[in-house]
Symmetry: C2
Subunit: 644 residues, 2 copies
Amino acid sequence: MKTFSVTFLPEEKSVEIAPGKTIMEAATAAAVPINSICGGDGVCGKCRVIVRSGKVTAEPNEFLTRREIQRGFALACQTYPDSDVVIEVPLESRVGAIPRLAAEDAARFAPVSQWVGDGAPYAYEPLSRKDYLLLPPPTLNDSVSDQERIYRELRRHRDIPIMQTGLSILRQMPTLLRASNWRVTVTVGQRGGTVEVLQIEPGDTSLRNYGVAVDVGTTTVDAHLVDLATSETVGAQAKYNSQISYGEDIISRIMYANTDEKLQTLRQCVVNDINDLIAALTVETKTRLHDIIYVMCAGNTTMTHLLLGLEVANIRREPYVPSTSFAPVIRAAEVGIKVNARGLLGVIPSIASYVGGDLVADVLVSGMNDSDEVSMLVDMGTNGEIVMGNRDWLACCSASAGPAFEGGGITSGMRATHGAIEHVAFGEGCQVTECGVIGGGKPLGLCGSGLIDLVAELLRVGCIDRTGRFVPEVCGTRLSRDGGQAEFAVLPGSATALGRDIIITEADIGSFIRAKGAIYTAAEALLRHTGLDFSDVRRVYVAGGFGSYLDVRKAIRIGLLPDLPIERFQFIGNGSLQGAKMALLSRQAFDVMEKRIAPNMTHFELSTDPEFMNEFTGSLFLPHTNIEKFPSVEREQRPRVAVR
Amino acid sequence: MKTFSVTFLPEEKSVEIAPGKTIMEAATAAAVPINSICGGDGVCGKCRVIVRSGKVTAEPNEFLTRREIQRGFALACQTYPDSDVVIEVPLESRVGAIPRLAAEDAARFAPVSQWVGDGAPYAYEPLSRKDYLLLPPPTLNDSVSDQERIYRELRRHRDIPIMQTGLSILRQMPTLLRASNWRVTVTVGQRGGTVEVLQIEPGDTSLRNYGVAVDVGTTTVDAHLVDLATSETVGAQAKYNSQISYGEDIISRIMYANTDEKLQTLRQCVVNDINDLIAALTVETKTRLHDIIYVMCAGNTTMTHLLLGLEVANIRREPYVPSTSFAPVIRAAEVGIKVNARGLLGVIPSIASYVGGDLVADVLVSGMNDSDEVSMLVDMGTNGEIVMGNRDWLACCSASAGPAFEGGGITSGMRATHGAIEHVAFGEGCQVTECGVIGGGKPLGLCGSGLIDLVAELLRVGCIDRTGRFVPEVCGTRLSRDGGQAEFAVLPGSATALGRDIIITEADIGSFIRAKGAIYTAAEALLRHTGLDFSDVRRVYVAGGFGSYLDVRKAIRIGLLPDLPIERFQFIGNGSLQGAKMALLSRQAFDVMEKRIAPNMTHFELSTDPEFMNEFTGSLFLPHTNIEKFPSVEREQRPRVAVR
């Protein structure tokens, strides 16, 4: 049978394939890792490759522009060689390049010692604990049962009112105790209000005690490996949530999961993602899966329901009722997560169908629940969530912002990871004079904070007007059209790691304006419901996965954040992940989320709030239809507006 | 091929079998139920049949006397037809006749209202509870999660600090709540210190809530079905513990269970017994297995370890350490017990390797733990156990008594069930003038209390001397010899349901004397260890499965019970079963056993007590070597002793 040779660059790996096979199938055969979120359906657009030589037939798709196709770009899963071909797999399409936080990225997160441990607000008491016990061997005068001997020793150090041990542990216990000469390490895990003896190991293994904190996002899944014995974060990994192939946003995934089988398919997707991340963490840090005892997940309500395989249909139907807001701690294996066979899985409690555990974690990290002053917290995930309150009360709401802040749905958008532009400034005219790239080097794309900067700068220099449309006379040659779509070249191909321009289109700016409008309007609505004004807000905490950098002044200039004095703002980063980590390390922190923050937060449902839609429409300007809401911006912009 | 016809009487069922098959195999083929505890190994002697016609070949065995063989008796499993035969299956050998308490026997147990409920010491709060909830459907103003809606309603009626729900229940919950129009019955079970939502059923099923109390004895397993909604005992079943085929007593079973496989074989034996009893209870009462939510077992430490499949080897080795004394509540299915799939299994906590949950239950039933006065409690199981104490302190010990009080190892012995002589008195000479048979009718054998009466009467009339040997000149023609063994005909075959004499041999009397001596000596040793005297004991509680009747005066006369005023004694029957039932119906009662009785009882180990063996030897007389210990008996016996 005739075959074609497919050679992949830069590896120069070659493989022979039969006609009718795709480049993706050839890549799989050659063990060249190419991104494939949708599994080859041509719907995610993540498997871009460049055909360097040879002939191919490609299915039409919406991800490549005419110009890109002319330049040899193709989707690997939709392209069939018609001759021997040479294929380049660009960095952006490599599995390794997909949101994978390098180990050093863990250091970018604030150390947990600020929150947990001596002198910090929460006591160090990890949810899984290993105690090395030197048990006194039994005698005729001390012949209590093996189980009691262990309980007695554990209770010598700590007050544990309710303790449980499973039958399998009890069955091994007698032989194990005697074989190890009464020197064993007992792992206990907090499970609901009780403490479970999870395993008994011979000898001293007390330093091998790990937990994994996971931020289960709609778009990405982030996992940190935490050494529970030292409180240190020892590894970090992230990847896209593979549920994306079943829908970009929450609603489309809920609609997909209309049978139990499909629901469990989505569960399996995210469980596989978490297992992949955990496997990568163990490789990265040379840790054994067996030593990972606890997994703590934070995420929006739909994500945590899907993780547990719980019914999500009612989340979408009025009156928007989740199956659970306080999911029980279960064995991780019950949903398919592969750690220690008896390891536990906890989920940060949530508030309502569209206000999840991610926000509860944010609140914990901000500390606003312990302050006398009224604070506001804004989480800019795919689902935007806002909290307001202080130590006496908390109120919240949510609004769908779309994935723009995470780089989703934006032509050159990407997550806040290596290669992402997180900061950009224009000089005179519309030239980029400052460009901060995460990890340094040439950029691959724009993350959320880079996008905020970019839109603010485009507005400042007049490249776009207050509606977000390009002003051709200001943009000059940087502006071009590909089909009907106007696009602005932010950086030329020569300055990027892609070999092609990093651009922003008018549609990108439109998505971004809707996202920032949703966030701002939700904040306003929450003020209205609580009878307050922005001037009552003493602190504003900003959470989200858009990078470690946020230029607040620019975020105000485009109307994303309220026009308050700069010193009132504080960026807390990925509070979801940080809160999950705090829970792993401090039972007290978990208790505060479960018993104080989550149950006491008042939730306002904006989807049925008639004023919300009007206010939202008003926010689809830069910064806002009523510029009086942004006096500092008004002062700054007035001369330039006069120029137009 | 040549076959033989085997006809069974009284059914007149016939079956053809090949040569080389046993009568037992023929009976199985004919569906004639014959007892077979040992499974056909010829070691239990329970499958006696009578060969009415035809020729047979029989293996030698130790269960039949020469005279019995001459009269046609044979063991069905050791006998091979050599021609067509007619076989009679006597009542005693029928499966139906084996310790099976008829339904009316349940009534012989004291109603639990004496202990649990209004005006009783323990509050009614069953360990599994069904609440019919009329939930308010969710609205936009009340959109808490489905799980919280249920918890909130449950907590409206009762204080439940910690509640848990398994993933499988959570997964079904949303659909079930909506399909049942928010009217559901929630079953919650107490599990350690937490309460678990065990199931949710549509509509009102709150009256279908059952528990099974099980006394897991070394010799017999007794089960009562309890309606947890009404506190009523609705059914009773019992059978021999099939572990008997692996050893009559605890020690031989522990020795057998020297590999995990054999340990699990023993677990399976008793689990099968419990399943058989539960199946019979459901048939008897037309109850569904699904509606049995909780199984509570009491038994000695070895029996409960074997039930849970826990290592027993260390129970037998000095310093006699059990795996657990406070076994966790587990799902019944984890050990193979077939009730509701999520039903729970609890075990009454124990004290030490040879002082089990049966004794803890006895103490609860006696109420001695709540009294100011010092009481003594004597449990006459295969393993005799003694407790002494009051509300401030409790001390206990154990001594191996053998199965005599349960009818085991006694030629005409049987359990305290239909057909058992529970009371017997002699008139002038040595004629039986009073004979109380459980359930009425002609007797099948002697239960424990009947045996006590019989030995006491034989002693009183002078048929035996104080060493337990027959006095031929008093016994007269009632005494005969079968081989070397002297036997006394208590009742002639014409007066029994067996068609043969009910007898007692000198060996039987010897076994009995050792049993009563072990009990008495253990009680004396416990007094010695606690620095007390029998005169300090204000009440004596007697527990055991030897019948509902106990003639205390006769028990004193033979030296089983101490010589105290009659009014100080109280018979509490099967405290093990009764205590398990109280636990099912009252969480408070279970808590008292777990938190007050079991952990606070001091245990004295007699097997390493050098004085115990000396004292035991002195007790192998009727009533005792030192008759001064029994002044009332001394006064009574003096003239008769003079006659000898």
